[in-house]
């Protein structure tokens, strides 16, 4: 069987990228983003990309890097409020944007990866999101039809993985990564720890290797935090009672 192991982002992306392609990128804010693969796409210089990702990074990190380099033609996202450049490019008409409600985006990707071309959801009925889409009544309530999403390439960040492509995510860095892993015609994964096959407990694997085409240990993980929020010791603050 052909090996899924790759040396680095550049090698993993070889022969995969082309202008005008659609790319799904995992992450929520800057948490759980495939930073090495984003850099690899930046270095390859492909353009006219349609990028499907919950957010678009910040001005100088994450997907914001591809935006600044003029490589993105269109974004499909739920929230882009952390990126000033994004707002400027969109309002001036240089960037296309399709807003999806976050849960609808997650489900579109899950559906796409599961071979489901469309589904009905309550989310967005009676809003701009439902315009031009089929609305149907089920059991007395209105639902809007949303389409499943697939991409030419999915770029995923996991915590641990093995040569088979089995993946484990860590804490809230999981977010969109598992669904995106299933919805790419090609799925490439960067991990913090590449472990020997047999090390991961089969009962604890989040993404089975069948969804993964290439895997490598990321050369560096900056893991930048958008809003470091702390509390002084011995003093209760927000969330203490939760």
């Amino acid at each position: 069987m052909a090996s899924k192991l790759r040396d680095n982002a550049g090698q993993a992306l070889e022969g995969v990228l082309f202008d005008g392609m659609t790319i799904m990128a995992g992450g929520f804010g800057l948490c759980g983003i495939p930073e090495n693969l984003i850099d690899g796409i930046r270095n390859a210089g492909v353009t006219d990309l349609t990028v499907i990702s919950n957010n678009c990074g910040i001005d100088d990190f994450g997907l914001g890097v591809l935006l600044a380099a003029g490589q993105i033609k269109k974004m499909i996202s739920s929230y882009v409020g952390e990126n000033k450049l994004f707002e400027k490019l969109y309002l001036s008409g240089e960037l296309e944007l399709e807003f999806n409600p976050q849960g609808t985006l997650a489900e579109r990707i899950r559906a796409g990866g599961a071979g489901i071309p469309a589904f009905f959801t309550k989310t967005g009925v009676g809003t701009l999101v439902a315009e031009g889409k089929e609305v149907r009544e089920f059991d007395g309530e209105l639902y809007v039809m949303e389409r499943g999403l697939v991409a030419d390439l999915s770029i995923v960040k996991a915590w641990k993985g093995d040569a088979e492509g089995n993946l484990v995510y860590r804490k809230t860095a999981r977010n969109f990564n598992p669904m995106m892993a299933t919805a790419g015609k090609v799925t490439l994964v960067e991990v913090e720890e590449l472990v020997p096959v047999g090390t991961l407990d089969p009962d604890q694997i989040h993404t089975p290797g069948i969804f993964v085409d290439g895997i490598f240990r990321g050369a560096h993980f900056e893991k930048r935090i958008e809003r470091v929020t702390t509390r002084p010791r011995e003093t209760a603050l927000a969330g203490e009672n939760a």
């Binding site: 929520f28 804010g29 800057l30 948490c31 919950n54 996202s77 739920s78 929230y79 882009v80 994004f86 707002e87 969109y90 309002l91 807003f99 409600p101 976050q102 849960g103 609808t104 985006l105 997650a106 489900e107 899950r110 959801t121 309550k122 989310t123 967005g124 009925v125 009676g126 809003t127 701009l128 999101v129 915590w159 995510y169 804490k171 809230t172 860095a173 999981r174 977010n175 969109f176 598992p178 669904m179 989040h206 893991k223 930048r224 935090i225 958008e226 809003r227 470091v228 929020t229 702390t230 509390r231 002084p232 010791r233 209760a236 603050l237 927000a238 969330g239 203490e240 009672n241 939760a242």
Partner: protein, 211 residues
């Protein structure tokens, strides 16, 4: 004297019941976590993929892999669990969350909510707000009663793009509390020192009152 942000958060916290699974939005709703009444235990859901949100970490202990939906660093509790965005919104859309408290730009007398977009000006996106108002069993909106300009935010019909149609159950502003149902809007509480006349003068929507 109208309610402060803290007063509004404390009032919203009185909507919590023991055993509730709750999603708190960004802004004043986040403050609600500071006012959970004694003897009541609620589980906070964060739509980026966590149940059982703990407090902010101590300085030096922030974990980049552990954030809330406002992208702030947080901590876990012994009861916490993590899951994907698809599972998270299965909880939300599937009606498994009892209460959502979120901010608003406009609320209309038919329960419509607008809180995600100002055409031509603000481009941020709806995030999870549309899913929350569509799927969570009870929706509470906390917002200032008027714009800084003085314009009413409790209106006959929203002029801003909607987040959801007919979705708001309760509105808490700095002036009082409003129940919104099939029969329209009813003012049920006035903030201390606020008169009915002041509320009428600052409200475009028609409303009944029980105060």
């Amino acid at each position: 004297m109208a309610w402060t942000r803290e007063d509004m958060a404390a009032r919203a916290a009185r909507e919590l019941q023991d055993g509730f699974y709750v999603n708190l939005g960004i802004g004043i709703p986040t403050l609600v976590a500071n006012y959970i009444p004694a003897g009541i235990q609620v589980t906070l859901q964060s739509e980026n993929g966590m149940l059982g949100m703990g407090p902010f970490p101590y300085e030096g202990e922030a974990d980049p892999d552990l954030i809330n939906a406002g992208k702030q660093t947080i901590t876990e509790l012994p009861s916490s669990s993590y899951f994907s965005s698809a599972d998270s919104f299965a909880m939300i859309r599937g009606g498994h969350i009892a209460l959502s408290i979120l901010g608003g730009m406009q609320v209309a007398e038919n329960g419509d909510l607008a809180n995600w977009m100002v055409p031509g000006k603000m481009v941020k996106g709806m995030g999870g707000a549309m899913d929350l108002v569509a799927g969570v069993r009870r929706v509470v909106v906390v917002m200032e009663h008027t714009e800084k300009s003085g314009a009413a935010k409790l209106v006959k019909r929203c002029s801003l793009p909607l987040t959801g149609a007919g979705v708001v159950d309760l509105l808490i502003t700095d002036l009082g509390v409003f129940e919104i149902g099939k029969d329209g809007v009813r003012l049920t509480e006035l903030a201390a020192g606020v008169t009915l006349d002041e509320v009428r003068a600052k409200t475009e929507a028609a409303f009944d009152t029980s105060v």
